[in-house]
């Protein structure tokens, strides 16, 4: 066990898997000598060389596309997109190839690859260093989408993702990169894909969240002494329906919190699933506290992102309904 932040935990997971499996290759902009702009790949180039820790020309299409070919040929590539905001020139590779090759070839080719990318705000990055577009990927059949909320999960989940035979979008909440430390086992371990975690237990309301908003939701609940189930989804697709539904059946109330914009966002699916499978148990509207439906503004980011006040308003509204 070593106490470490998420960046170190991710670095440690990559190191573990590079060491364990020669088919693991990292590829992305500035990941080699520079160690990545957030230092997630620090030291790995020196240790594993330029064939396995590959800096690339400036093209996200190239990074993802090349990884797809590598995966088709038996490797386990781990492409990094420097910021999720720059992923869109690779969107065709993600939607048309990464997500569909297994299905349309009926498994003749599979794509064991993990696309890592930092997402969300927290670095005062303005409209192009702060986006949370996980809904696009969650909506894309064929992709697995995961996002850890602490260093321990980050390492275990990344290892599970690398060993998965499905293409995984591994979304790293950059606002949590350095802000929390956990005890993280030094060796290989896994955190299961598809399983949510109840990080707080309570009876009055279910709070469903993931990634960047998990510590905030947890602290708001604790600080305000709310008797709440707090669920960290960890996996967005396929999300852990049973944990969500069982909790809501017990509490009768649900509030979903995420940083991404509301309209047609991830929270809508969670809400719709509840409205389909637990309607009789609901004692209040299902509410969402989310990022605003605008680009992330540079100086007013704090008003964009959910905060204690907005979360408490929603909790109070459903509890007092």
């Amino acid at each position: 066990m070593t106490e470490m932040n998420m960046v170190k935990a991710l670095n440690n997971a990559l190191d573990t898997m590079l060491d364990k499996d020669k088919s693991v290759i990292l590829i992305g902009e500035d990941i080699a000598k520079d160690g990545g702009v957030f230092r997630v790949t620090d030291g790995l180039y020196a240790k594993y060389g330029d064939e396995r820790v590959v800096s690339t020309p400036l093209s996200e299409l190239g990074i993802v596309g090349m990884s797809i070919g590598m995966a088709m040929d038996g490797l386990r590539p781990i492409p990094e997109i420097q910021f999720l905001d720059f992923i869109y020139t690779a969107m065709d590779q993600i939607v048309s190839q990464m997500a569909k090759i297994r299905y349309r070839t009926n498994g003749d080719y599979i794509l064991p690859m993990v696309l890592r990318t930092p997402y969300g705000g927290g670095v005062s990055g303005g409209p192009y260093h702060s986006q949370s577009s996980e809904a696009y990927f969650a909506h894309t059949a064929g992709l697995v989408v995961v996002t850890p909320s602490n260093p321990y999960d980050a390492k275990g989940l990344l290892i599970s993702s690398i060993e998965s035979n499905d293409p995984v979008m591994f979304l790293e909440p950059k606002r949590l990169y350095y802000s929390i430390k956990n005890d993280v086992p030094d060796n290989y371990y896994k955190v299961e894909i598809g399983k949510a975690k109840r990080i707080l237990e309570g009876d009055d309301v279910t709070l469903i969240t993931y990634g960047p908003m998990v510590p905030l939701v947890k602290s708001v609940v604790q600080k305000n002494n709310i008797n709440a189930d707090v669920i960290d989804l960890i996996t967005l697709n396929p999300f852990d329906k049973d944990t969500v539904i069982n909790s809501v059946k017990r509490t009768g109330r649900a509030v979903i919190v995420h940083e991404a914009p509301k309209m047609f966002g991830v929270g809508a699916e969670i809400s719709a699933t509840i409205a389909e499978k637990a309607i009789d148990y609901l004692q209040a509207p299902i509410l969402r506290v989310t990022g605003m439906d605008i680009p992330v503004p540079f100086i007013l980011e704090d008003y964009y992102v959910p905060n204690e006040k907005r979360i408490m308003n929603a909790i109070n509204k459903v509890i007092n309904y």
């Binding site: 064939e51 190239g62 596309g65 090349m66 020139t89 070839t105 003749d108 998965s164 329906k241």
Partner: protein
């Protein structure tokens, strides 16, 4: 000239390939018109080039074709495999999930054809990276149309493959049209020149002339292997038919090469064969009849074959079915 460059067997083999592709192509077009094949992508005009690709590639090479590669595909994976896919049969490796001519065959080192123009070029580059990394023998050969040179993927694949010195041969099947858009509008330079912008060699060849194409491709494969740099071949040919069975070329062009014209690749190879007295008229006629019979028989066989049933619908979306897939499976019972 030809006599020294190519063996008699090879040219006969090529000729048979050309005849097979032409015969099958016409057969499938006919079947489409009768309504039995919902969609087809005609290959007429590309046959000599396809024969050259099919014969120049070695088993160790990885072939990443595009959707207009009927002859090259047959040479690589066999008529049965292609027809099983063409008619979306239950024997189709892909279970009828993709359109005709969109084959995939991992066992034979063939990448999955994608409809999206240019969409496979970076994947081909990635396979080349992997080959190099894993020290696998052989190179990657990717084909695509003239229209594909305008795609983002083309640019990025050319650049990445040069930057990492990858063993990959890009073959542009330049049939001078992208649906209704002529290559003179697609780009203001010769396609072969584009390679220079990335630091490797581009070669322009006559894609209607089997012998020229065959040699050029064979040499290029060896040069890629030796030089460990990519090469781009601009194989100029002509799309003699419509773009697909949904297209009407009369709306936008006058077809300038018709079947039997001196520039028809079939005419060219047939004239070579006659001139060199490799086959006489009777032998030629026998080949045509024999291939015609095979095509009729095989097409009929695959046309009648069962198609995958609805119980296959959800297979292989993921390694394990998510809960919602289980629910959705229930909905179609």
């Amino acid at each position: 000239m030809i006599e020294e460059d190519i063996s008699k067997d090879d040219i006969i083999n090529a000729y048979r390939n050309v005849i097979l592709e032409r015969t099958l192509d016409k057969k499938l077009l006919g079947i489409n018109r009768q309504g039995f094949l919902p969609f087809y992508i005609p290959n007429m005009g590309h046959e000599a080039l396809h024969a050259a690709i099919g014969m120049a590639l070695r088993d160790i090479d990885f072939f990443y074709p595009y959707y207009r590669d009927l002859g090259s595909d047959i040479a690589r994976v066999g008529l049965d495999f292609v027809l099983a896919q063409m008619f979306s049969t239950e024997k189709d490796n892909e279970l009828g999930r993709d359109m005709p001519l969109h084959i995939s065959n991992k066992a034979k080192n063939v990448g999955p054809v994608i409809t999206t123009v240019g969409g496979h070029l970076m994947a081909a580059t990635g396979v080349a990276y992997s080959h190099k990394y894993q020290k696998k023998p052989g190179i990657v050969v990717a084909t695509f149309g003239d229209g594909a040179t305008s795609t983002p993927d083309f640019h990025v694949a050319m650049n990445f493959s040069a930057v990492y010195s990858l063993p990959i041969l890009f073959i542009c099947e330049n049939n001078q049209w992208a649906i209704s858009y002529p290559v003179e509008d697609q780009t203001k330079v010769e396609i072969s020149k584009k390679a220079e912008a990335y630091g490797f060699t581009g070669i322009k060849i006559d894609g209607n002339n089997f012998v020229e194409a065959y040699h050029a491709i064979k040499n290029a494969i060896l040069n890629v292997e030796k030089g460990s740099m990519p090469i781009l071949i601009d194989a100029v040919t002509y799309r003699m038919g419509p773009h697909t069975t949904a297209d009407d070329p009369n709306k936008y062009r006058k077809t300038i090469i018709n079947e039997g014209d001196p520039l028809d690749p079939l005419t060219i190879i047939e004239n070579d064969i006659k001139r060199m007295k490799i086959l006489n008229d009777e032998e030629i006629s026998n080949i045509k009849n024999e291939i015609n019979d095979t095509v009729s028989k095989e097409v009929e066989r695959y046309e009648k074959m069962n198609k995958p049933g609805k119980e296959t619908l959800f297979k292989n979306i993921y390694e394990n079915d998510p809960w919602y897939i289980t629910e959705e499976r229930g909905e179609i019972q």
